[in-house]
């Protein structure tokens, strides 16, 4: 049981690292540090960097949270199944 819980936490942390890296790249790198580079390109009338900073980053944030909620639901269910199985085995 301890192993299953430790694995669950490790997967949770790995998921967070991936999602927070995307979060930081989208907001800090693309929308602030590299905004002038992105502004060279233009999409639908928007300079790309400006669009990322005022629109795109916000859409990405929403998606990141829903991906996290969805994936964690799956991890929760799998952990529950493992715990149920191991307890059944012991009994």
């Amino acid at each position: 049981m301890d192993q299953a819980i430790a694995d669950y936490w490790r997967r949770n942390i790995r998921l967070k690292v991936v999602l927070l890296t995307i979060w930081a790249v989208v907001s800090i790198v693309l929308s602030i540090l590299m905004i002038n580079v992105l502004n060279e390109a233009s999409v639908g009338g928007f300079p790309l960097g400006f669009w990322m900073a005022q629109q795109g980053s916000i859409f990405v944030f929403v998606v990141l949270i829903f991906v996290y909620a969805k994936t964690m639901d799956r991890y929760d269910t799998e952990l529950e199944a493992t715990l149920q199985g191991s307890q059944g085995g012991e009994a």
Binding site: W23, S27, I32, P47, Y68, L79, L83
Partner: protein, 559 residues
């Protein structure tokens, strides 16, 4: 019917709705009063968070601020949304699993220390009071602009209404009222935005249409000497844009009135989903605001720039009516009868940023009921945020101080009464500062976010993710981070001592990021030097990290 009559009708109807909801959802015990009985569904909680979060400033002022900042307005757009990613991934699920009522509850229990609890409750009260005074002021301003009431009278009406629905309803009443308030404010924001988008671009979806006006806007702005609208770092340095954005993000994640909303869901799963819904509902307004900013700015410049003042007044009734309120002011400096709106000393037109949202319905030629709806939306935004903040003030005094620190209130009825009295006291103080605002209203936001970033955010994240964080580390980190941030803001903020920002020219709004880093370093170093937390505290941290059902197995395994 006149706009004013319509406004009375719409405001009266929405206020009656809030009171009706609150009386139906009256809290009967402390669990209902502080956390709505842990019974709020994910989507409803998401809406309530969105209303709780979006204040009078988001609704009335943000588009105007962006219109004048241009590209750098992204500090608010990203800062006030990106924090929800941190909240959803790092805080909300674990605090929900913790399952108590307040942020000081968590800090006090996790750091096995009454001192830590007291530091946290002082910070929670200070942050919430600085923020709530602005909301009460916002109610007064809406009443004065739309209904020609004195601001003080407007504040008193706001106090009365909040007392009725928040103090009696508690978190349970506040939650469902906030759901209604979100609905009112988002409709009130979107209708004028869609109308003005259609008028200027022929594309009703503001988020898509606003790319179409940017070339024009850049050209006019460059002509007038303002600099291109979409050019970044025109008003702030790159370092300040970065630090302010991070301070607003981490501050958002650390604001107690937002955090406690996640205590109200049924399960940890629901806490995670409701964070997603919250940001979804917030994003609807936050992606519309920059579009409104660009439309309103383009329209304003097109209408007034180098036009004859007589002609502008004759053709635009909104121009005359907003001149009447003082939000627009024209002075013909060179006596040519034209409006010279430009950067520099020759400028003849003063524009208050709030007009970008408030005048929208008239500019877009919408009927009187829509203007009335905008007034109701502004009130909904201010009242929903005020009630969330007052709940934090009530719970900090009534629960953390009275029950947990002073160990008073032996019966449930006494504790509930303490919470209500504390909230009532909060209404009075907030109302006082709403009528007599301190001279540094603009800096209040810097204070609230800076202090939340420098105190709560690191201390809660450390508490969950590093079991070996000690009481001494957390107290030292919070205290030093907060004192540093507080002193720097007092020294550099324009309304206070107004010294030149001495620390790498960092603006007072961005200093919370530095305070947070200092807090983290101190917390880590002191924790390394002091004795490990007791075993039961480490076990509690373990229990926060697993879902409810796994906890049941752990419990069963022990027996």
């Amino acid at each position: 019917m006149s706009v004013e009559l319509w406004t009375w009708i719409v405001v009266g109807l929405t206020f009656s709705l809030y009171i009706y909801i609150a009386t139906r959802q009256r809290a009967k015990d402390t669990e209902g009063f502080y956390v709505a009985g842990h019974g709020v569904p994910a989507v409803a909680n998401g809406m309530a968070v969105a209303a709780d979060w979006m204040s009078a400033a988001s609704f009335i002022s943000m588009a105007g601020i962006i219109a004048f900042l241009g590209s750098d307005g992204s500090i608010y757009l990203m800062g006030w949304t990106g924090g929800y990613v941190l909240l959803a991934l790092l805080l909300a699920p674990y605090l929900r699993k913790f399952g108590k009522y307040t942020v000081p509850d968590f800090v006090g229990d996790r750091y096995y220390s009454q001192t830590a609890r007291v530091v946290a409750l002082v910070a929670a009260i200070f942050v919430s009071f600085t923020y709530v005074a602005g909301q009460m002021r916002g109610v007064g301003i809406v009443f004065s602009r739309f209904l020609n009431l004195d601001i003080a009278v407007g504040v008193l009406v706001g106090m009365a209404i909040v007392t009725i629905y928040a103090v009696t309803g508690g978190m349970k009443g506040i939650t469902w009222t906030q759901v209604a308030q979100y609905s009112v404010l988002i409709v009130a924001y979107l209708i004028p935005a869609v109308a003005i988008a259609s008028k200027l671009t022929g594309m009703p979806i503001p988020q898509l249409g606003f790319g179409g006006v940017l070339d024009d806007l850049n050209a006019i702005q460059t002509d007038l000497g303002f600099g291109a609208y979409t050019d970044p770092f025109s008003s702030l340095s790159t370092l300040n844009v970065l630090l302010i954005t991070v301070a607003l993000m981490t501050g958002t994640a650390g604001l107690p009135h937002v955090i406690v909303r996640f205590y109200t869901t049924k399960t940890v799963r629901d806490a995670r989903w409701s964070a997603g819904w919250a940001l979804f509902f917030i994003a609807i307004l936050y992606t519309t605001a920059p579009a409104v900013a660009a439309f309103a700015k383009t329209n304003l410049l097109d209408t007034v720039s180098n036009q004859s003042i007589d002609q502008v007044r004759a053709e635009n009734s909104w121009f005359v009516s907003w001149e009447g309120t003082g939000l627009l002011a024209y002075e013909d400096l060179n006596g040519d009868g034209l409006i010279n709106y430009e950067a520099g000393d020759g400028n003849e037109l003063t524009v208050d940023r709030d007009i970008m949202v408030l005048a929208n319905p008239e500019i877009a030629g919408l009927a009187a009921p829509i203007t009335a709806l905008v007034a109701a939306g502004g009130l909904a935004a201010a009242l929903s945020t005020a009630s969330g903040l007052l709940l934090v003030i009530g719970s900090s005094i009534g629960h953390d101080l009275y029950t947990k620190v002073l160990k008073r209130g032996t019966t449930e009825a006494q504790r509930l009464r303490a919470g209500r009295l504390a909230m009532g006291f909060g209404v009075l103080v907030a109302g006082y500062f709403g009528i007599n605002p301190p001279g540094f209203v603009a800096e209040v936001v810097a204070f609230a976010f800076g202090l939340a970033a420098a105190s709560f955010f690191p201390v809660i994240v450390f508490g969950i993710f590093w079991k070996k964080t000690t009481r001494e580390g957390a107290i030292a980190g919070m205290a030093i981070g907060m004192i540093f941030t507080f002193v720097y803001i007092v020294m550099t903020a324009p309304g206070l001592m107004a010294l030149d920002p001495w620390f790498f020219e960092i603006s007072p709004q961005g200093i919370g990021t530095v305070g947070m880093i200092i807090n983290a370093v101190v917390t880590y170093a002191v924790s390394k030097m002091t004795a490990e937390p007791p075993a039961e505290v480490q076990a509690m941290v373990d229990s926060l990290r697993i879902p409810e059902v796994a906890s049941a197995y752990v419990e069963a395994g022990k027996v």
